[in-house]
């Protein structure tokens, strides 16, 4: 039933040859993986040979060399439909046999994620699991990962994915989400050229512009609809060297490539409604499959007051064509896709400007991609090759119309040229119009070839390839009338994105997978390296000269299987190590100018004719040519045990990323004049004072601006586990227990400049001093959860239902003490000095020492709580499916004391529910 191409990359046994007997090797598997203990009988026409598959599902059979032609192979195993098949034997051809479990598709239907047993630790979520979950976007299905929990959809702001991380609400650690790659049908979703933000506006965290900002934060999962997806594979472990520009992991999305009836889906819940329609056409004679689909999602942040709306529209058209010749199988995929993702802001009923204020953020992506797969049918050195090409064109736009009311009189600086300027004042009130026009254009090219070779007992699979990425933004950028800025007091100036060069990277990888059969052990060693380089950078950038190498190694040992009662027990241990590299995005590499306007003369006379204001404008380019890549080093060990369809997988990992991207303040002394008009009687003038005739002081202003540095450390440790049982008769129940203990540590890995906690006064005048502190933030977070999901699959009744008990045993947070003594300091004139032991005694400099209150570094533990979720789906005549879900149908979260304070959390439960209708015509 699954039309996946399992022919490839299945480990193949070495075959040896001698004059008297031929040996044939192969593998028996089912959709879950290898089948151990299957009996194989070779007839020609009488029984020649009989054998049993080992723990890895492998077998060898010997036969007389002089017998040629067709043979009959009979494969039997308890719980499987016996198979009889006629095969033609070639000495070097491995035989791969797919068995179907007796209980039809029961055992292979997973309504939860299943852990794969491959080299890279991954979870696979099939379309059955997705359908049962009733997701609105890809975000929802992430609850199935070990360590995941169901959360209510939050569709009013971007949904970003953190793998193996507790997460922390700080943009300084965005690498956690940026470093998770998303790949759809082999093409990465490239967000490098995303520049949809508006800088310089003093924003509160609740501000829309700020909330929807995903620059440098990765893929917004809201924009990925789930209806076209066949399966999702979330790779948390060390990925193949084939995959780059990521630090944490990868979400691989495979879309449907097969005939389907007309399908339609309508879903509604408290926050959203959505619909989908699609079909897969197959022209078997031409070996042509066409899939097309359309979906929409409308969501509100709060159903009662629709202040923020989110809308998504996607359309897809995919063609898959296959040619089969004697030697090759060629497959050619062509995809055309559109995604529109829109955040629409409405204003509060209390807002007096609700009739005129308008906010919209539009994301329109059209992409075309093509993939060509060439596969050698017969064993040879060259096995297969593939070429992926993709072009995506985006039209992104933020439009904000906002009535601005000056809260008082204020100066307005609009000059972009550095120097002293006489300036005017902000209009008391006006309509502002801001547009941020971004047109990311990304292109992708990847070529991969696989080769197979044998050296003695070793079987090699060699994979090599190259990848090129191009990311450019051709937008008009941030635009507004400088006289009517979108916010009073903003320092932003217009900027054209077109002028920013493209970010281009080129990488090359080579990987060898070696299989060694040391009966009864079987060892697979996969080692690879990926070289990558950023192109098209100015020569003074460090990265323009640097080639990064990512070594990656996975070693899997299958232990001998043994009998446990009536069943075979198989065990495998996988050890992995790897480095993953992520490049900075366009905004990190090419930041925009920072304008610093210093008031030199401020004379707001009662008579408007005599008013004058003078400002010195500094223009700073906060580029950081020494900016480097972010690199994550992973170590992990995984144990897989299988016994009669009950599978246990436990993974322990440790990861360290010491150089995540972070905005760091730089301080610099900017000189300005302070003109003094105290000697002029304001009541006795006939013209505004001319600053050139005024006395002045020269002032040093120690001001800050931010640059992007490799200054964030994320260290992650944890244990992920999943146990899933076979379906147990009667209700066909499968029990899945999964969860994770996750420990994340966040810290600045570069010293930070910070002003002292209080003010420093010297001779009655406040002075600016800045300290450079080795460590300022340090956050330890951990949590431990277990989900027990009982899912029942009753195809006879067309009924599936599941209950998920999602327990959080505890979450712990602790903030680390700051490093109190600065390493260096900047004096009011902008000079940097060592901070010595004498400085600590100095009457002024001692104030730079920060204090550490022990209370701030206490451990804060949130005790046990549990949610129970229920989901059900019923099919009527296999045409209509009705599904419903209730999250938190029950919640247990007792009040607790935290450091003496009673924390009330009982009584906050509001179940979240929704339902949907599916049609298959």
């Amino acid at each position: 039933m699954l039309k996946l191409k399992y022919l490839l990359i299945i480990g193949v046994l070495a075959t040896s040859y001698n004059l008297k007997a031929q040996t044939i090797g192969g593998m028996v598997k089912d959709p879950d993986g290898p089948v151990a203990g299957a009996t194989l009988q070779l007839y020609a026409p009488h029984l020649l040979q009989e054998t049993i598959t080992n723990g890895a599902g492998k077998f060898t059979l010997q036969y007389q060399a002089d017998i040629t032609g067709k043979f009959r192979l009979r494969i039997t195993h308890v719980g499987y439909i016996p198979m009889d098949t006629m095969i033609t034997l070639f000495p070097n051809t491995p035989v791969v046999i797919d068995m179907t479990p007796v209980s039809g598709t029961l055992q292979e239907v997973f309504l939860t994620a299943r852990e794969t047993r491959g080299l890279t630790t991954s979870s696979v979520i099939d379309k059955e699991a997705m359908r049962h979950l009733q997701p609105s976007s890809l975000t929802d299905i992430m609850e199935l990962l070990p360590g995941g929990r169901s959360i209510d959809p939050a569709l009013a702001s971007p949904n970003l994915l953190r793998l193996r991380e507790t997460g922390i609400a700080a943009d300084d650690y965005s690498i956690g989400t940026l470093g998770t790659a998303f790949m759809v049908d082999g093409v990465p979703m490239n967000t490098t050229a995303n520049l949809q933000y508006a800088a310089g506006i003093h924003q509160s965290s609740a501000d829309r512009l700020n909330r929807i900002n995903t620059v440098g934060k990765g893929v917004d999962m809201r924009s990925i609809s789930t209806d076209n997806i066949e399966k999702v594979e979330v790779m948390r472990g060390v990925p193949s060297a084939e995959y780059g520009n990521l630090t944490n992991g990868m979400v691989k999305i495979f879309r449907k490539k097969s005939a389907t009836p007309w399908e339609a889906r309508i879903k509604a819940d408290g926050f959203s409604s959505m619909g989908y329609a699609g079909k897969g056409f197959e022209m078997a004679s031409r070996k042509l499959v066409i899939n097309a689909g359309f979906d929409y999602l409308h969501a509100r942040a709060d159903p009662r007051t629709p202040l923020s709306n989110y809308k998504r529209y996607t359309a897809t058209f995919r063609i898959n064509k296959t040619w089969i010749t004697n030697r090759y199988q060629v497959e050619w995929d062509n995809f055309a896709d559109y995604t529109g993702s829109f955040d629409i802001g409405k204003t509060d009923m209390d807002d007096p400007n609700r009739d005129v204020n308008r906010f919209q953020s539009r994301y329109n992506k059209t992409s075309f991609s093509s993939a060509l797969y060439l596969q050698q049918k017969k064993p040879a050195f060259f096995r297969q090759a593939s070429i992926h090409t993709a072009v995506a064109v985006q039209r992104d736009k933020i439009i904000q119309d906002k009535w601005v009311q000056a809260e008082s009189a204020q100066i307005l600086a609009t000059h972009t040229a550095p120097g002293a300027h006489n300036v005017g004042y902000l209009t008391p009130n006006y309509m502002s119009h801001l547009e941020v026009d971004g047109r990311p254009l990304t292109a992708y090219l990847k070529a991969v070839a696989d080769f197979a070779a044998t050296t003695g007992q070793l079987k090699h699979n060699i994979k090599t390839g190259a990848e090129w990425n191009y990311s450019k933004n051709n937008g008009d950028g941030q635009r507004f009338n400088p006289l009517y800025p979108p916010a009073a007091g903003m320092t932003l100036r217009n900027r054209r994105y077109k002028d920013i060069p493209a970010a281009t990277d080129l990488s090359f990888f080579l990987e060898n997978s070696t299989t060694l059969d040391l009966y009864p052990f079987q060892v697979q060693l996969n080692g690879g390296v990926r070289f990558s380089k950023l192109l098209n950078l100015p020569p003074h950038y460090t990265l323009s000269r640097k080639v990064n190498a990512d070594p990656r190694v996975n070693l899997q040992t299958n232990f001998p299987s043994f009998r446990w009662g009536k069943h075979q027990m198989t065990t495998a241990l996988t050890l992995s190590y790897g480095i993953q590299t992520m490049y900075p995005v366009l905004d990190h590499l090419f930041p925009e100018y920072v304008y610093l306007d210093l008031v030199q003369f401020n004379y707001y006379h009662n008579d408007p004719a005599y008013r004058t204001a003078n400002v010195y404008t500094y223009r700073v380019l906060p580029q950081h040519p020494e900016l480097n890549v972010a690199r994550n080093t992973k170590w992990e060990a995984r144990l897989d045990i299988a016994l009669n369809k009950t599978r246990l997988s436990v993974t322990a990992f440790t990861e360290k990323l010491p150089n995540g991207f972070r905005d760091i303040n730089r301080y610099e002394a900017f000189i300005s004049k302070r003109y003094n008009s105290d000697h002029i009687d304001p009541d006795d003038i006939v013209a505004p004072p001319d600053i050139h005739t005024l006395p002045y002081d020269t002032v040093h202003n120690l001001l800050s601006y931010t640059i992007t540095e490799n200054g964030s450390l994320i260290s992650r440790q944890g244990i992920e586990y999943q146990l899933s049982t076979r379906r147990i008769a009667w209700l066909n129940s499968r029990f899945t227990i999964n969860g994770a203990w996750l420990y994340s540590f966040y810290e600045n890995s570069r010293p930070l400049y910070q002003p002292p906690p209080g003010s420093i006064v010297v001779d009655g005048v406040r002075q600016q001093y800045i300290g450079l502190y080795l460590q300022d933030d340090g956050y330890k977070r951990q949590r431990f959860n277990t989900n027990l999901t009982v899912d029942n699959y009753l195809p006879g009744l067309g009924l599936t239902f599941s209950t998920s008990f999602q327990a959080m045993w505890w979450t712990i947070s602790q903030n680390m003490p700051r490093h109190p003594v600065p390493l260096r300091y900047i004096d009011p004139a902008g000079q940097e000095h060592e901070y010595t032991s004498e400085s600590q005694q100095d009457a002024v400099l001692q104030w730079l020492i920060k204090r550490n209150e022990p209370q701030l570094h206490r451990k804060n533990k949130v005790p046990f709580e549990m949610n129970i979720n229920f989901k059900a789906s019923r099919a009527f005549r296999k045409i209509v499916h009705i599904s419903l879900f209730v999250n938190r149908i029950l919640r247990y979260s007792p009040d607790y004391y935290s450091n003496g304070a009673l924390i009330r959390r009982s009584g906050y439960n509001t179940p979240y529910f929704g339902m949907e209708l599916n049609f298959k015509l």
Binding site: V599, N602, Y604
Partner: protein, 399 residues
């Protein structure tokens, strides 16, 4: 309303005086005058101590004093015109709370010739200190005709509540570090000794630069310009005495109005009225103050279902330095007052709920307690802003 009642009472007394007057004969003889005092309304279980009367003849300057016992006193007076002042200490209860205060009462220009009808004086409560007080705090700003808020027109009015000319030089105004709507267990707790303050500014001057006459006030504007140019619902503050100028792009400086000098931080009035204000004088230099009066604190921030340790740094003003304190809050959000009760035991408001649009254009204004000599209005200062202020009343400088 209560203070108006006092005023009417006193005026009625004065009128009755005037109607009773007769032609004098030029002989020196003494006339007995009986004066009865009545206690202000709203105080319970009053115990009056050390009450005395002082009667000053306006032509000769002769002063006669006598103790007042059991709310009444009879004095033999020579003919003349007298200004009469009564003062005493009082211990009383309001809302069950034991309080200490001063009682005062005045009769201005009582003509004593022949028989004088018994006089009745309504006493009023007066704070312990006599000097500058907050007369008005306009913190909420105004609403533009389009319905947007406008904040530059906010101001403080500081009133000389004494009978002497005082100098504003060196007066300090500070806002509280803590909000009256968010109570946390701030450690260390200094409230009995000092007020934790956020921004502090000071009126400049050499000590005698800015005289303020008795019964007069100074206006300290956030921005001393004619705000009617920006918002027709606002006020012309271009004649303010001082302005708070932040040397920055988002402020303007009127050359005709003196600037206050910032001591610490930038004073931005909390426009919903969640912060309290204190008026003080520093017996130390600013430099000494900034070096020695830092206040570092920690607390646990508790919100619904989580708790988070926090810390902060600010300054503190010892309670003895504080001349006047006004706590502000809103009824729906009020959690605590952020000064010691000895400075202020109640709070006043310009809005009933958080974000109340009714607060725009309204301020809090200190009630008049009575009238002293020369028509000098004496403002009520019982160290209880709930009683001493009229809440949510149209700002006095808005036309």
């Amino acid at each position: 309303m209560k203070q108006q009642w006092y005023v009417w009472g006193i005026m009625a007394v004065l009128f009755s005086m005037a109607s009773c007057k007769k032609e004098d004969k030029p002989a020196i003889r003494k006339t007995p005058v009986t004066i009865t005092t009545t206690l202000p309304a709203g105080i319970e279980e009053a115990v009056v101590r050390n009450m005395s009367i002082s009667l000053k003849e306006n032509n000769t300057g002769t002063v006669t004093t006598a103790p007042v016992v059991d709310n009444t006193v009879t004095v033999e007076l020579a003919e003349g015109v007298y200004n009469i002042a009564i003062e005493g200490d009082v211990q009383y209860k309001t809302d069950g709370q034991e309080q200490q205060g001063k009682l005062k009462g005045y009769i201005e220009s009582l003509r004593v010739t022949g028989a004088v009808a018994p006089q009745s004086v309504k006493l009023f409560l007066s704070g312990g200190s006599e000097g500058f007080v907050f007369q008005e705090i306009f913190f909420s700003g105004t609403e533009t005709p389009q319905g947007n808020f406008y904040l530059g027109d906010r101001y403080f009015k500081i009133y000389n509540n004494s009978e002497d000319t005082l100098y504003a030089d060196g007066l300090v105004i500070a806002d509280s570090e803590f909000l009256t709507v968010e109570k946390n267990d701030y450690t260390p707790d200094i409230m009995q000794e000092a007020v934790a303050v956020g921004a502090i500014f000071k009126i400049p001057g050499n000590g005698t630069t800015y005289p303020v006459y008795p019964g007069k006030a100074i206006v300290i504007a956030e921005t001393a310009i004619n705000h009617l140019e920006f918002n027709t619902n606002s006020a012309d503050l271009s004649k303010a005495d001082f302005e708070i100028y932040h040397e920055d792009m988002d402020d303007v400086d009127n050359p005709s109005v003196a600037n206050v000098s910032p001591v610490f931080g930038e004073m931005v009035l909390h426009n919903r009225g969640f912060k309290s204000f204190v008026l003080a004088r520093f017996p130390v230099t600013d430099e000494q103050y900034l070096a020695e009066y830092k206040y570092d604190y920690t607390y646990d921030f508790v919100f619904e279902d989580f708790s988070f340790p926090m810390d902060g740094s600010s300054y503190k003003i010892p309670n003895e330095w504080v001349i006047d304190a006004v706590n502000l809050s809103v009824q729906s959000e009020f959690k605590w007052i952020v000064t010691a009760p000895s400075l202020d035991m109640g709070w006043t408001y310009s809005g009933q709920v958080d974000g109340d649009k009714q607060r725009f254009g309204n301020s809090v204004q200190r009630k008049e307690a009575g009238t002293g000599f020369n028509g000098r209005v004496i403002l009520q200062d019982t160290n209880n802003s709930a009683n001493d202020f009229t809440p949510q009343v149209k700002a006095s400088l808005i036309q």
